[in-house]
Amino acid sequence: MSKKVESLESSSKVKSFFKSPARITLLIATVFFVIALVESITGAVDISSPGTSGATLRFAIPLLMAGLGGLWAERAGVINIGLEGMMIVGTWTGAWFGYLYGPYVGLLAAAIFGLLSGLFHAILTVKIGIDQAVSGLAINLIAAGAARYLSGIFFPPVGGDRTVSPPVETMPTFTIPIIAPFFKSIDEKEIFLISNISGLIYGVTTELSVVTVGLLLLLPLTSWVLWRSKFGLRMRFSGENPMAAESLGINVYRTRYIAISISGMFASLGGAYLSLVASSVYREGQTAGRGFIGLATVIFGNWRPSGVFAGSILFGFTDALRVRQNESVMAILLAAAIIAGLLSLYYALSRQWKPMSIAGIIALTGFWLNRQVETIPQEFVTVFPNVATLIVLTFLAQRLTPPAMAGMPYRRGSE
């Protein structure tokens, strides 16, 4: 009995450690310090270079949009496996309408068609009561098939290809004045740690797209809706206990219709970002499974907007590294090993033996690999994001609190 109490106490300690803002800041600072340290040791300067942070942001936005989309649906109690298909809807309609009427109309069209694809998922799952996974898979297949079919009809006559749209007018970018040049100058001075952080800030404040900023604003908006608005409260209860919500006169069906439609719109906007901002053309397979990664960020982020954001940054970062230097991955490996070592030490101090040994093993493996291997093969670089996902989810799995009724069938009037 006493043993049980002890473990409960220590786990709440861990929880509060990760929850307190001051400590999170400390944690992030530590991570940066380690990265700066590793960079100065290995000479792999690309991890915190402005190029990497800018690329991270560009890779993160589509994931963030898919993740937020998944969050809306799941908070309302419906799992949206169709995120990938809804992203395809966004890439295609964004590019096609963007080509016809300009990129802003393209975005608007993506939003509207995304909303409709979400509504379709809602009708299938909420009204008809089809299994949520089946409906989502159907949407993925239909969207991919329809995109291929329509591309073949529409693109070749106007100078595109059967799988590639004609180029869309590029969207304007801007650099934040004063801030960007200021951090750029510090970055160039190459001061340990400070220059690393400055480089990162310079990277995300320069050559920004208006769309990037606009979509980023949907993050605080989602938080605000969830925790401050009446609709958000009702939406959360639709996902936690729809029977209770119904008994208090709340229209669970309508709430879910709205939430899932918005889910589709968000995912579709993420897709449109790929074809209008990150590139300026629709290409078949452009989404490349990002809808599913977005779904993973929902779990990673513990069904919270800030967590989804953190997840999309992490996955976006690993994605950005993949297309950049090889030695960066080696450096990251070393950094990860150091961080795992520190974590292991922390767990040892709070007498949590199991996480301690897991972190310890990861740390030792990292150091050993770093000593043994000269360059990491390209295959490892490709698989790195997936491994990182697995490791992170392993550590977080026990503390997750998903909406209680997400994924469960619910019929009006059931007890």
């Binding site: 401050r228 608005s229 009446k230 609709f231 409260l233 009702r234 959360r236 209860f237 936690e240 206990n241 029977m243 209770a244 919500a245 008994s247 208090l248 006169g249 709340i250 609190t401 909406p403 209680a404 007890e415």
Partner: protein, 504 residues
């Protein structure tokens, strides 16, 4: 003080059943009014009518002197009637405040929730009525008693003046019951009115100002606690008349088909469910297990079927140690099990009847051979069950879900009594079935007994217990408090024993 609630001549019929007839009730403002009755006496239907969930066929309801017709719970809430459900309608992954205000959130511009104002209002209500709650606590951290307080706060937040509590003590431990009673007394002191539904006589006598007794769908009497006693209430609850004594010859064998020795069970949350239960059943006898639901019957059955492991003591079934044996072996040894929740534990609702016939007999001849199920045998034996037990079905290929509840039950009983079991564990075998089906099921249980089987009959129906049992054991709070001879006892005495009274 006047009457806040006047109910006259309420009647409600369901197809084939009269749930409420000639129900009349007067509730005084600022009082705790208890409604007691056996299971199926019509208490729940009456409460559903008062809360707008069910519309009565006849009769009138006056709230605060005005005649009303409730169409939905929302109407009831507007009139100041609030319901505290027995099964809480709360979400774990949210705070107390969020749970309380859901559905009647104070808002700015119609969409921004004014959490600060709501928190203040809830705090005021909590202080005013002496309810101890922390608005910002996560519900996941609360125990059952605290959750019930949140449910009460929920209806108070909506401005309820009349609170209906449906068996509120069923889920509480004794200390929590005391806390609840303190809270309720505080509520009526502040002018609210409480309708308290229960079948626990001790509690009712200690908390109520008035007690209305229901039997067979109608209100039979209203008493003040000081003018009555447990014995009279029990008599009024079960009716004066004795069930007919049962004829039939009996050959009790020496073989013990069930022997439970000092079995105790402590649930994971530390709650003691069973303590030191001793029971023996011989071949050829029916042991009735009487008790108000939730006193440990379900757990006792699960111990016998090898689904739970006792914390201490032993359970021996047909010579097998139930604790270490697989449920499969227990069943194969000749144990039949009629579960209480037929749809959850008794049937595969989306499978045809003949497949359901195989359930529990899937390892042995004649329905199975080696790894194969014998479909032909299953179909022909399903037809036999349908005939013998008068199961109303178009055929044995229809899904179990297509049958009415009573017919599902008949099919389960028929299945379980197949293959000459030596021990029959029957939990509420006739619940929800009509009188004709009840007679068939009783007849078959008696036949099994004559054939030398031992029967454990767990029932809340006193008629059934008296008609079938050779001995009646009474379970209360996880212990067997007495074993009675039905020929030498009265339903009143049994009713008393079930409520935990020592004198019998």
């Amino acid at each position: 003080m006047g009457n806040v609630l006047e109910v006259v001549g309420i009647e409600k019929n369901y197809p084939g059943v009269v749930a409420n007839r000639n129900v009349s009730l007067n509730v005084t403002e600022g009082s705790i009014h208890s409604i007691i009755g056996e299971n199926g006496a019509g208490k729940s239907t009456l409460m559903k009518i008062l809360y707008g969930l069910v519309r009565p066929d006849a009769g009138s309801i006056k709230v605060f002197g005005e005649a009303i017709a409730l169409k939905s719970p929302q109407d009831a809430i507007k009139l100041g009637i609030g319901m505290v459900h027995q099964h809480f309608k709360l979400a774990d992954n949210a705070t107390v405040l969020e749970n309380v205000i859901l559905g009647s959130e104070p808002t700015r511009f119609g969409f921004v929730v004014k959490y600060d104002e709501a928190r203040k209002k809830l705090q005021e209500i909590a202080d005013h009525y002496g309810l101890e709650i922390d608005p910002d606590e996560s519900l996941a951290n609360l125990g059952v008693g605290e959750r019930q307080r949140v449910e009460i706060a929920k209806v108070l937040f909506r401005g309820a003046k009349i609170l209906i509590l449906d068996e509120p003590t069923a889920v509480l431990v004794p200390q929590e019951v005391e806390e609840l009673f303190t809270n309720l007394r505080e509520l009526v002191k502040k002018g609210l009115t409480v309708l308290f539904i229960s079948h626990k006589l001790d509690e009712v006598l200690s908390i109520a100002d008035d007690i209305t007794i229901m039997r067979q769908g109608t209100t039979v009497a209203t008493r003040k606690p000081k003018d009555t006693n447990k014995k009279e209430l029990a008599e009024l609850m079960v009716g004066g008349e004795l069930p007919k004594p049962r004829a039939g010859n009996q050959k009790v064998s020496d073989e013990k088909v069930l022997a439970i020795n000092g079995a105790s069970y402590v649930r994971e949350d530390g709650r003691q469910i069973l303590s030191g239960v001793n029971l023996e059943i011989h071949g050829g006898e029916i042991l009735g297990l009487a008790g108000v639901e939730g006193n440990g019957q379900s757990e006792l059955i699960e111990l016998i079927m090898g689904l739970l492991t006792p914390s201490s003591g032993t359970v021996e079934v047909l010579g097998l140690n139930a604790t270490t044996s697989l449920t499969r072996d227990i069943r194969n040894a000749g144990v039949a099990y009629i579960p209480q929740d037929r749809q959850r534990d008794g049937l595969l609702m989306t499978a045809p009847l003949w497949e359901n016939r195989v359930l529990g007999h899937q390892f042995a001849e004649p329905l199975a051979s080696s790894i194969w199920v014998n479909k032909g045998a299953a179909i022909s034996d399903s037809k036999r069950v349908v005939d013998e037990f008068d199961v109303r079905t178009p055929g044995v290929n229809v899904l179990a879900s297509a049958l009415s509840g009573g017919n599902q039950q008949k099919f389960i009983v028929g299945r379980e009594l197949s293959g000459n079991p030596k021990l029959i564990v029957a939990a509420q075998p006739t619940r929800g079935v009509d009188v004709g089906a009840q007679a068939i099921i009783w007849d078959h249980l008696m036949k099994a007994r004559s054939g030398g089987a031992g029967v454990l009959l767990v029932s809340a129906d006193l008629d059934e217990l008296f008609s079938l049992s050779d001995r009646i054991a009474v379970i209360y709070n996880g212990s067997i408090v007495s074993v009675l001879n039905p020929a030498k006892t009265t339903p009143e005495a049994l009713g008393l024993a079930m409520t935990g009274a020592k004198s019998a």
